[in-house]
Symmetry: D2
Subunit: 299 residues, 4 copies
């Protein structure tokens, strides 16, 4: 099913309360918020979902809540882990909970194509048959995968149904991935959606990204699907100033949470420590960026 | 003098001909282009100037030509080099040729504050008295420098007159650098100017960045200086779609060269190998981005 | 108590059965083996203990079994984890099980002194009062810590009672750590004991290392304590050919397990995947190295 | 001709005087020293030859002097450089001066097999026909190359005549390289000769390494060639304590220079800054290690 993924898979944040505990109740409102803005699916416990800061039990709870709230919408659970034992255990848990699939980026330290082929051989020996999103995000994973390697992985492992492509530069890589003659997989794109309209032109099936105004993602995708490319660009460009603000790593994610808090999607903008806190100046910048956006949107 | 730098220091590209040889004549037209759009100074042989691909003799020739063409405008020469012997030899050459100063980023492999203090101690023992831009660009240099460390370096070394700040996220780092109580140095910002208006609000003295429409840099800076912050943002936002396109590493620099070629600033968009070449799809995207920009500018 | 650690803290392997499951029963025989050869304490779930490949539950079981078997001998539990939530949860578990302390290396990605001070501030806010071994092992952790930084950490955090020093080159770093004027902490050394007699001369309090002939570690330490420096070197040199064989990363650990299997300490030499398997040639080399060692020992 | 390289290619140090200037005269005595101890060839301007600290002109002078002094013995010149322009220019100079070949390790930052194939395609387009040593030394280069990739490079590029294999663990990699069915190339090994007898058993053609007692390298190689494997090990083991001392990075190279200074091979043990200086304690350790070695040798 992930082979045919299309549209907007929201990379969903993990809400925390003021003391840094997981705020499960805010997942309900956040899912409503995303769904109300047209999300077609969710990706949970990715890098910007602060998966790396959770305990195994917390991760399970977050996955469970998202899957429950999402109802009929597919939920992909990030399970990347330097420990194959933990990766495969959590994959099984996620699938048992009803996930549509898991997302895996290779662990730091793998370098050669041979290493990577060996690694994924081990992975899929353990989670055979599990629908999988292969995440190509070298900035965070520190592992580079070439197009020929990704094509090889697709041929070897039926489990790989979707590529989350967020290498930089991304555009020709998307074109080359699409030009392969092998089995078709879906390609969704990340990088905070900074290049979304261009990526869609290159053959991507939609974004797998987070943004505090998810309606932009769905509207740009919809306009693109309708062949209204200029309108898609026009709309995208209105949001770009805020989008690029949220694209600054974990600090940008904190800004994103703050905007979503203001929009009523979550109760707190807290990032779990170690993580950024917004300064007075940051908050003032967000005021201005949001005000300018709302003006541009004619509100 | 670099202590008081203000305005737009253009990070200048190195032009090559179709076969990859340095095209010194295009430096003349490129300097005219930049100057015509209001540049206050130049930074030559930085990362995006492809310094790492030149021979020592080619680097000297490029520096010489830029300094000669720039006339009264200050030229900063990038001299970063894993070899201190080469760094100091080229620094002396650059100053002898009339450079306003040199720019240095620490070499990959340095890790602790102690290592970095030791490194710069060695550097300034060798190029004592040379006005220096300290480049804080961990994405390219692979070396992280904290605010307290940069403050320490400023206190120890009178040579440091200007910080090129392009860590990410950059905004609070600029604020913190400014809040120091020590000797004042200039702060110019890089990151392809993606955050320019915000950086100016944080106390930066201007951009040290490259862009195919350098008039944006000077106009945004001018509007900011005039207190017209909304107009500065409005203008910046018009250019942001192209700006973010050019921000994708060396491939983005290639796009920048192509736009400058179209604008008559250089004869060829060539990047020296190993480096990107633009595909048909890339060129088509540039067509659209430039056309949209020109429309937005009312031309 | 770890402040006064002296002697040989064995870095203990984690035994697996032929299918890669944790072999808890082999922990009993392995502890007997180590104790029979004079171990003064144990360090469990370090890098060479394959901690990174275990699930949280498996790690707990291994820690529990070691602590139970070790009886009156102190057991240090490795708890390094990119997730502070997991690090602190496992620290509490380990101390509740009766550990003498925990061992922590900073996670990859931390770079500046400021980052590291912030990280350990967070760590000790969460595990306040827990006796801690600070592991300085940049080869594995990818994080460099300078002597001044380590001294600062010692001053700030009473929890740090012992430094496991295994940077390379190691000798002057040990001297410099010892020359500090601050609170005294123990210094034990790693790097597979490749430099043990020299490290003892520099003021180290003993090895915290693994070796298939742990009697070498205790005898060299004993001779050193008795002032018999030449005899210490003589004995050490006999073992050095095998020692350097076991020093080749995880593959060396696999060789170590094989020798310990032959000596009856564990039932299987298995490393958990992804990990090395010994080839015929490897096994033949081990035959020769062990035979030569036994000859040199006059057996 | 490098295809048939056999025996001991000494990785030769670069001598500096007390002020850090290249001491060309000491190259003459150093070559005599190495030759007198049976060297079959030289490798100059490698990592431990401090190539990274020289100016282009100094590198040329060092290469010239070594080639002149070496007479009929082959000299390989290290030309690795992040700049292809500098790499190819220096390769041509080296060959014009009479080098037997050049040695190249890929520059940091290359990651995938596709990147590496592209890189070496560019390299050999520029230095077509130049006999080349491919250096596989990931610890220093930060680039990993798998056995299948090295085999591919050998098939594509006739220029590659010799592999300097010094990945760790090294032994099975040597076996696998030898087991390839393609064109035969020589394999010489590095890693400070720490594993020399084992490497010879695996099919290596000799060491390409540095050591202050180069007679060990030639004698161990000779005993191995004569089938006297036990004697080879016996001799090797005598030197191992000093060998492992010299294996500690640049600081170990400084110790090596000091021992060679004492043996009359060079006038000064200076490493160029930034580089280590030996402390009193270091010098005392060297006293003891050398005295113990001389005793073991029965002198």
């Amino acid at each position: 099913m992930l082979n045919n993924a299309k549209g907007v898979y929201i990379v969903a944040q993990t809400p925390f309360d003021e003391r840094g505990n997981v705020d499960l109740d805010s997942i309900d409102t956040l899912v409503d918020f995303y769904r109300g803005h047209g999300a077609n699916g969710f990706t949970v416990l990715g890098v910007s979902g602060e998966a790396g800061k959770l305990s195994a039990e917390e991760a399970r709870q977050v996955a469970e809540r998202y899957i429950k709230c999402a109802g009929d919408l597919p939920v992909v659970i990030g399970v990347s882990n330097p420990s194959l034992a933990q990766l495969s255990a959590f994959s099984r848990e996620a699938m048992d909970l009803g996930a549509a699939g898991v997302m895996i980026a290779p662990p730091a330290g793998l370098q050669t194509d041979e290493d990577l082929l060996g690694y994924f051989g081990e992975v899929f020996r353990r989670i055979e048959g599990t629908p999988t999103v292969l995440q190509d995000f070298p900035f965070a994973s520190k592992v580079a995968m070439s197009v020929p390697l990704i094509h090889q992985l697709i041929e070897r492992h039926q489990e790989i149904q979707l590529i989350k492509e967020e290498d930089l530069p991304c555009l020709n890589k998307i074109s080359r991935l699409r030009e392969g003659n092998g089995r078709r997989v879906a390609i969704l794109t990340g990088n905070n959606a900074m290049y979304l309209p261009l990526e869609l032109q290159r053959g991507a099936d939609g974004p797998m990204a987070g943004f505090s105004y998810p309606e932009m993602l769905t509207q740009v995708y919809g306009l693109h699907q309708a062949g209204k490319f200029e309108e898609a660009d026009d709309l995208f460009d209105i949001y770009l100033p805020l989008l690029r603000y949220e694209a600054m790593g974990f600090w940008g994610v904190c800004a994103r949470k703050e905007v979503m808090r203001r929009r009523g999607a979550i109760r707190h903008a807290t990032m779990r420590t170690p993580g950024p806190k917004l300064s007075e100046k940051d908050l003032h910048e967000i005021d201005r960026l949001v005000a300018r956006l709302e003006t541009r949107l004619g509100r």
